[in-house]
């Protein structure tokens, strides 16, 4: 243990503790900007500097370890001057047109500038004039980038995608795409983690809310909107609502009041995914010779992009099942259009999703199986939907819950947990058990695959044979898992991968909370909803039963293949051969 004094208070902390943490342990708040615990402890912004008695220079509190006997002061003139000056320097190169920024009100720099009582900048303003592609799902606003380097770190360390890099040196050093000249040429998987780790508005999603409004305004269009499982854990955060208050039904009320014609639940197509993917898995198992193992889940388009870009040898291991979003779109423009008796081209199919890869996925040219038009027309992230609700001056706290529309508004608890790491695997195992044995297991039988660990393994007995499964989230963990499979160190039958750490609840399109990984708080919401749901098995969803009876006949039928499955080779990543 090390004894130090911070602002006159005695502190005793373990060796190696940073000044920042030692101060926090006695309630002393040191401002930070570039810092993100465990991810970006590089002392780049120099906002967290403190004074150490006996030293002329000011160390960064975020990455300087306390030393025995240190006398630290966090609020002297030297410290205040240096911090303020550094924030002013950053502001001199930051586009502070806050009124036209998606992060206004949720911006670490804005908060710091306010906290420091900065009312004018003594330096000449200089903004980077380079513009990113406004049509790509992920947009880099160079004029707002403060070079905190968090995006580089999360992309390298957590996602193993290495898209961002520090380019150039000296005054022109900037954050940009590293190995390519643009994002669209790069192997970016569009997970959006760089956005949720950006302290300012330098990284954002392409805003498609205007397209949704256009569809609402078009009297010819019937708007059908689906809500992904993980959205119900997070959408209310922007309104200060707890998950208990911000239910999927209250979100439906908001969407209804904005004017969407049909509000449906992606949980339904998650159940459909289980039927198809589960059956596919059992089919592959029955013909082990002619199939590649493990089979990988395919519901996360960020993961699919990652495999195609970095591990093409595993593309055939992916399930051919479309993601729930795309299954939903295909059903909407076929079965549902038929049901309500409209020309599918009149339907505008919209989804609310926790990530940006979904924006890419819906635009893949072959995702048009229902009627030739894209099965899903518009993807809005949780953040965009929150902005849409605000821009329509809808106050969710004043609305009553409404039921989702029929028939595609019914989902099971198994579909609900798709939004968390391990959820797809658990849902699949629940139904696989039924499909193999003809009876339901206890719904919590497979809970070993729950939890936030980046790489989980489990074995289950299924009709006399042992099933080895693994679950990984975060593409860094996925890469490790793939490398281990390649090296012959591990082998599994079925593997679930989600690109974002913790799964979609930690998705890159979700509301942003600086320095906080939210999946920890959001995942339990999904599991508690699953627990409270009377319907806990995908195969028991009555609408699923009906749609097979009326439309698909059975899983993996010809119609299923046409509408619910896809060829992962039908499109290419930029560098894919």
């Amino acid at each position: 243990m090390v004894n130090v004094t911070i602002d006159g208070k005695s502190v005793c902390v373990p060796e190696g503790t940073t000044i920042l943490k030692a101060a926090a342990s006695v309630g002393i708040d040191i401002p930070t900007l570039c810092y993100w615990e465990g991810l970006n402890e590089i002392g780049a912004c120099r906002v967290c500097v403190v004074e150490v008695e006996g030293n002329m220079r000011l160390p960064a509190a975020c990455n300087t370890a306390v030393e025995e006997g240190m006398v630290i002061r966090t609020n002297t003139k030297k410290v205040r001057d240096a911090r303020k000056s550094n924030v002013e320097l950053i502001l001199s190169e930051h586009n502070s047109n806050c009124t036209a920024c998606v992060r206004s009100g949720n911006c670490s720099l804005q908060k710091l500038a306010n906290d420091f009582n900065i009312t004018e900048i003594p330096y000449k303003k200089h903004l980077d004039e380079k513009k990113g592609n406004r049509n790509f799902p992920l947009i880099h606003d160079y004029s707002r980038c403060i070079k905190c380097m968090r995006c580089i770190q999360v992309c390298d360390k957590i996602q193993h995608s290495n898209v961002w890099d520090l380019i150039n040196t000296g005054s022109r050093a900037t954050v940009d795409v590293g190995d390519y000249y643009s994002l669209e040429e790069s192997n970016c998987v569009l997970c959006g983690q760089c956005i949720t780790h950006c302290p300012v508005g330098a990284l954002k999603e392409r805003d498609d809310t205007a397209k949704a409004i256009d569809a609402l305004e078009d009297p010819e269009k019937i708007t059908v909107i689906q809500i992904a499982p993980s959205i119900r854990t997070a959408w209310g955060e922007a309104f200060g609502l707890s998950p208990e208050e911000a239910t999927v039904n209250r979100l439906a009320a908001c969407l209804k009041s904005i004017g969407f014609d049909y509000v449906f639940d992606t949980n339904f197509s998650a159940d459909l995914t289980i039927m198809e993917e589960g059956s596919e898995f059992l089919k592959r198992l029955s013909d082990k010779e002619n199939n590649k193992f493990p089979m990988f889940t395919s519901c996360c388009p960020g993961w699919v992009r990652f495999v195609k870009a970095n591990y093409p040898e595993f593309v055939d291991n992916l399930s051919t099942a479309k993601s729930p979003q795309q299954m939903f779109g295909a059903v909407t423009k076929s079965y549902f259009a038929e049901k309500i008796g409209v020309d599918p081209s009149k339907i505008c199919s919209i989804s609310i999703m926790p990530c940006l890869a979904k924006k890419h996925e819906c635009a893949i040219p072959v995702m048009n199986d229902a009627c030739g038009d894209p099965d899903v027309d518009i993807v809005l992230t949780t953040r965009e939907v929150d902005r849409l609700i605000k821009s329509e001056h809808v106050d969710p706290s004043k609305l009553e819950d409404v039921e989702l529309d029929s028939p595609l508004g019914v989902g099971s608890g198994a579909g609900n947990i798709f939004g968390a790491t391990g959820g797809v695997m658990e849902a699949a195992l629940r139904s696989a058990y039924f499909l193999v044995t003809g009876s339901n297991p206890d719904p919590d039988t497979f809970k070993a695959v729950r939890g936030e660990d980046g790489w989980k393994e489990a074995s289950f007995e299924l009709a006399g044979s042992t099933l080895k499964v693994a679950v990984a989230s975060g593409l860094g963990n996925a890469a490790k898992l793939l490398d281990a499979i390649k090296a012959g160190k591990v082998s599994y039958d079925f593997v679930e991968i989600m690109a974002c750490p913790g799964g979609c609840v930690g998705g890159g399109g979700q509301p942003i909370h600086d320095q906080c990984e939210m999946s920890t708080f959001r995942a339990p919401v999904l599991y508690s909803q699953d627990k409270d749901n009377t319907l806990r098995f995908s195969h028991e969803n009555p609408v699923i039963k009906t749609i097979y009876e009326e439309f698909f006949k059975e899983p993996l039928s010809e119609k299923s293949h046409h509408l619910l499955h896809t060829d992962h080779h039908a499109w290419k990543m930029p560098d894919e051969v």
């Binding site: 030293n55 220079r57 300087t64 380019i167 040196t169 022109r172």
Partner: protein, 610 residues
């Protein structure tokens, strides 16, 4: 008014002088990977500030040139800008009145030609082509990329075993390098910004001398693969050490009596004591590789046969052939090549130069080694004849100074023209043609004959140290590519022409430093491992102490001291004195820890494994 006055300096002038010194050190520490276009603009700015303002090209032109280059950096330029830069720079160079303008413009011309691609990359893509910013200068400059800030931090904590083992992760010859490494790591040491480079080599030697014992390294599971290594010098031993750690079965074939290559047969023991070298090699052998000495590939076994017996082969035969001066009388008895003399000494055959007059020909480190050895072998006089200036010698400055202190006389600007024989065929004298320094060619002023007569220097022995060659003919015949007798291996140490054969060290680079040879062995080990179908990581597993925060107040560098010349010339014992505990503690605290402070923390900092 006084008619004349004495020059006094103002505070402003003194400060500017100090700043000039700071800038000089600043530029010396510039690490590779910086944007050359940006630097060119900055140099122009500095040159422009020095313009007196009298003449148009300099007063106006340098500023415009800088603006043009800045437009390239700002992304507002097009291809025509490059032309404008070139034309303007050339016009300034040709028409400026004094060197301030013309030399600044010459730098600009050089820049546009030298990094044309970078200019174009900026114009087309708004970025710099060079993306290999080196965040830790010492690690980047060390050919073997040893974790220098890491081991210095461990030395400061008194964890000497850990420090040496951390070095061994990248360089299995820490004792040798502690004594004789040319320490390129110190070249761009960022501490020079504050005062002077860290004495990295000295600290390494200190750590090694405080290591308790050399433990056998932990090796991976045996792979069943066999690697044959030709040459037991630093490069071959390094490859054998790492490949053994990776679980491969290695055999080193050495044609001489003992292992060590040039470390034993080229470096005198007063710089690298034999007991240190022997202990180092014995320590390396704990990794488990086999060594067969007095066995020459090409004589005792053919190269083809060796290839058949092994899954992979590493050729590290060094550069052990002497070069001839090519002058009349070189065949005289008493003309000895440096290679031959040092080889004899390596095997313990000390020639007796008692009372003799010796002339050494050459200006490299080997010339200094033989000259200083000759002093120790009892020579009456030792003269070093060199055709260029002393300042142009390729030997390290400290080696030249050491030779002078040992009593050698440097005869600079003297080119040997012939060796005069006595009737019995032995050396009578060497004739030297005085030279005058001339034009700069390839960065060094070339000597030309002076208008003065040849000089006769009577002597008993002429020691020739003008470089070494490579005995590579048999490998050329076997089908490997040669380039001026060097094995033309790729950067990865392999050959497109022959699978499974790798090469490195002096036989690829030409005579170079021990650390380059070690790096060659390290690179080969990694690539041989991969070639054999494995990916064994080499890591140290050593945790570093928390980083110390400190002001960077200027503090002198601890330099190594030597035994007095009068004493050391009497024997072949180690010349250099060790660093004291007090010195090592102070010197290790000077390290700026660039792996933590600065860009190193973001990327390019510590490499835990390779």
């Amino acid at each position: 008014m006084s008619r004349l006055s004495n020059v006094t300096t103002t505070l402003a002038q003194e400060t500017v002088e100090e700043l000039y010194n700071d800038i000089e050190r600043n530029i010396q520490t510039s690490q590779p990977g910086l944007c050359p276009v940006d630097l060119a603009a900055a140099f122009l700015h500095l040159s422009h500030a020095r313009s007196c303002g009298k003449c148009t090209p300099c007063r106006v032109g340098l500023g415009k040139l800088e603006q043009l280059i800045n437009s390239v950096l700002d992304g507002t330029a097009d291809e025509s800008t490059l032309e404008a830069i070139e034309t303007t720079a050339e016009s300034i160079y040709r028409s400026a009145d004094c060197a301030i303008g013309s030399e600044a413009a010459r730098m600009a011309v050089k820049a546009v030609k030298g990094f044309h691609d970078d200019f174009e990359e900026h114009i087309r893509h708004g970025r710099c082509k060079l993306q290999n910013f080196k965040s830790v200068p010492c690690v980047a400059e060390c050919p073997a990329h040893v974790d220098i800030p890491g081991y210095i931090a461990l030395i400061h904590e008194g964890r000497y075993n850990d420090a040496v083992n951390l070095i061994r992760k990248d360089n299995p010859l820490p004792s040798t390098c502690g004594m004789i490494c040319e320490h390129p790591c110190e070249e761009h040491c960022r501490r020079k910004l504050v005062d002077d480079a860290i004495n990295i080599r000295g600290l390494k030697r200190y750590a090694v001398e405080h290591e308790s014992e050399i433990k056998a390294p932990v090796c991976a599971e045996p792979t069943g693969k066999k690697v044959g290594i030709i040459g037991g010098g630093p490069s071959g031993l390094t490859a054998a050490y790492f490949l053994s750690k990776m679980g491969h079965e290695c055999t080193v074939y050495e044609q001489r009596d003992k292992l060590g290559g040039m470390l034993r047969y080229g470096i005198p023991s007063y710089r690298l004591p034999r007991e240190v070298l022997d202990r180092e090699i014995e320590g390396m052998k704990l990794a488990g590789f086999k060594t067969i000495t007095n066995f020459s590939i090409g004589k005792d076994m053919s190269f083809d046969e060796l290839r058949k017996q092994y899954d992979a082969v590493y050729i590290s035969i060094g550069a052990h052939i002497d070069n001839k001066i090519g002058i009349e009388g070189e065949d005289a008895e008493g003309v000895i090549s440096a290679v031959e003399m040092l080889r004899g000494i390596g095997d313990g055959n000390m020639p007796d130069f008692s009372g003799q007059d010796i002339v050494v020909v050459g200006g490299g480190n080997v010339a200094m080694d033989v000259a200083r050895s000759a002093v120790r072998l009892g020579a009456k006089t030792v003269k070093i004849a060199y055709r260029r200036r002393k300042a142009d010698m390729t030997a390290l400055a400290e080696e030249v100074e050491g030779a002078v202190a040992d009593g050698c006389v440097i005869m600079e600007l003297n080119a040997p023209v012939k060796i005069e024989k006595k009737e019995d065929g032995s050396v009578a004298a060497i004739w030297l043609k005085p030279q005058i320094v001339g034009e700069v060619k390839w960065g060094r002023p070339a000597p030309v004959n002076a208008d003065s007569p040849e000089v006769r220097v009577a002597c008993d022995k002429v020691l020739v140290a003008i470089g070494q060659g490579i005995d590579s003919a048999q490998f050329g015949e076997a089908g490997l590519p040669l380039k001026r007798n060097r094995l033309a291996a790729s950067e990865a140490g392999d050959f497109a022409e022959m699978e499974g054969v790798f090469s490195g060290g002096d036989c690829v680079t030409g005579p170079a430093t021990v650390i380059k040879a070690i790096a060659g062995g390290k690179v080969a080990a990694a690539n041989i491992d991969e070639y054999l179908g494995f990916n064994h990581p080499i890591e140290s597993g050593i945790d570093l102490p928390p980083v110390r925060f400190a002001d960077r107040e200027p503090m002198g560098r601890v330099n190594m001291t030597e035994r007095p010349a009068s004493e050391r010339i009497k024997d072949f014992d180690l010349m250099e004195l060790p660093m004291t505990d007090q010195e090592a503690c102070q010197e290790s605290a000077r390290c700026l820890q660039c792996d933590h402070f600065g860009c190193g923390l973001l990327k390019g900092g510590r490499e835990f494994r390779w």
